[in-house]
Structure formats: structure tokens, C-alpha cells
Assembly symmetry: C2
Homo-oligomer: 127 residues x 2
């Protein structure tokens, strides 16, 4: 059994349109996934989203929602009522993100312990 080296990787190993280059596509990496989770069960109002997203400021929430709207993952619907009402909902495309998100969440659930242990071990050993 020969321990063969894998072939060297070419300079164009990643094509210009390679998906791995563009992920994650949705602006704010800190809040986007949480926002999507909050919208999973149906449309939500701006102030309604601020409750579960504890600690988010109006500015950051507005920015995140706008960037997700630009990317076509979220729709903003404004109702001419009083007091004004604005609702945010997932688009069909936004909803398809739930699958890959679940896969990453499962991975984290299974490996977060080992990951934190690895950090402690790294620090304990050589630094």
C-alpha cells in the first residue's frame, strides 16, 4: 500500500464562480441566521423581532433586514395603518436557507464541546 502524496493543487483550484468563495452571502454574519430563525414561523414586526434578538440595536436590526431584503431572502411589507406597521417575512429563497442552516447547527451541537476542549488543550500544551 503506497502512501501516495495527493497531487499538488493548481493556482486555479477555486474557479472564479466557486460557491465557497461567496458563502456566506447574507450580509451580517452575526445576526442574519438568528433573524431567519425568528421568521421561520411567519411574518414578524420590527419591534417583535427585537425581543428574541436580545441586545440588538434598532440600527443594526434595520441594517441587517435591509441587506437581507437586498439579497432576496426577506420581504418588507409596509401597512398604511396607525400606528405604522411593518412586517418582515422570509421569501421562498430565504426559506431554503433553513436546510443548510440546520446542517451547520447540528454540526455545532455535536462538535462545540470538542472544539472548546481543543482550545483549552492548545492553551494548556504548547500555547
Amino acid at each position: 500500500m503506497t502512501q501516495s502524496r495527493p497531487a499538488p493543487l493548481p493556482a486555479d483550484f477555486f474557479p472564479a464562480d466557486c460557491p465557497v468563495q461567496s458563502v456566506p452571502v447574507l450580509g451580517s454574519r452575526k445576526w442574519a441566521w438568528r433573524i431567519i430563525r425568528c421568521l421561520e414561523d411567519g411574518p414578524r414586526r420590527f419591534s417583535e423581532l427585537r425581543v428574541p434578538l436580545a441586545g440588538i440595536t434598532a440600527k443594526v436590526l434595520a441594517e441587517s433586514l435591509r441587506s437581507m431584503e437586498q439579497d432576496g431572502a426577506v420581504v418588507r411589507t409596509e401597512y398604511a395603518e396607525n400606528p405604522p406597521r411593518v412586517e418582515y417575512a422570509l421569501t421562498p429563497m430565504g426559506r431554503t436557507l433553513l436546510g443548510p442552516m440546520d446542517a451547520m447547527c447540528d454540526w455545532t451541537r455535536e462538535n462545540l464541546g470538542g472544539l472548546l476542549a481543543a482550545r483549552l488543550e492548545y492553551e494548556r500544551a504548547g500555547r
Copy 2:
């Protein structure tokens, strides 16, 4: 068929140990996934990695690899030869990331077109 509103989300909707809070776990978001791809087929040397990761600087590559090593996704092996040889390889845990990564890449492949179209449409319409 009643169009019922979903129940409001509580302030503790995301528990402190919720996986979605901790993803992505691997430091550098720009290069980590590409590095993992490069290591998929076996161990690679530092300078060997710089070829496919076109444009990465030695500093950023070293930082990224170290943070991935801290997280237990990569092992660094130093050989006392001349000229010095250092090899980086995926750990078993690092290898398990390939599944979720594939899911995200598939999503991007399928939706990147729609996403870019949504951006253009957003700009064209209301701004």
C-alpha cells in the same frame, strides 16, 4: 382556514448555548472554508497551500491555520529536515465539517443567480 398569527417570540428564544449563536466557529470566515477544501485530499505544506489560495499572504495563512489548529480542526506537523518542512492536515473533527460545507455550497450554487438578480432588482426598483 384561519390565518393565525404565530405566537410572539420570547426574550429567551435563543438559549445561551444555542448552536446558531456560535456558528461559524472557525475564526477566519474568509479563508477557513477554502483551506479545509485544500486539505480534503491529504496533508499539505505551507507553501503548497499558498498556490490555490491565490492572493493570501503568509501572515493571514499562518493566522488562519493557527486558529483552526486551536479549534481542533487542523493538525500542524513539523519535520526536522532541511529545508524545514511543515505539514497541515484535517483532524477527524475538521473532516466532519465537509458535510455542512457541501450543503452550504450547494445552496449557493443553486441560489447565487437569484441572489444577484434580487440585488439588481432592489437597486432598479426603489433603491
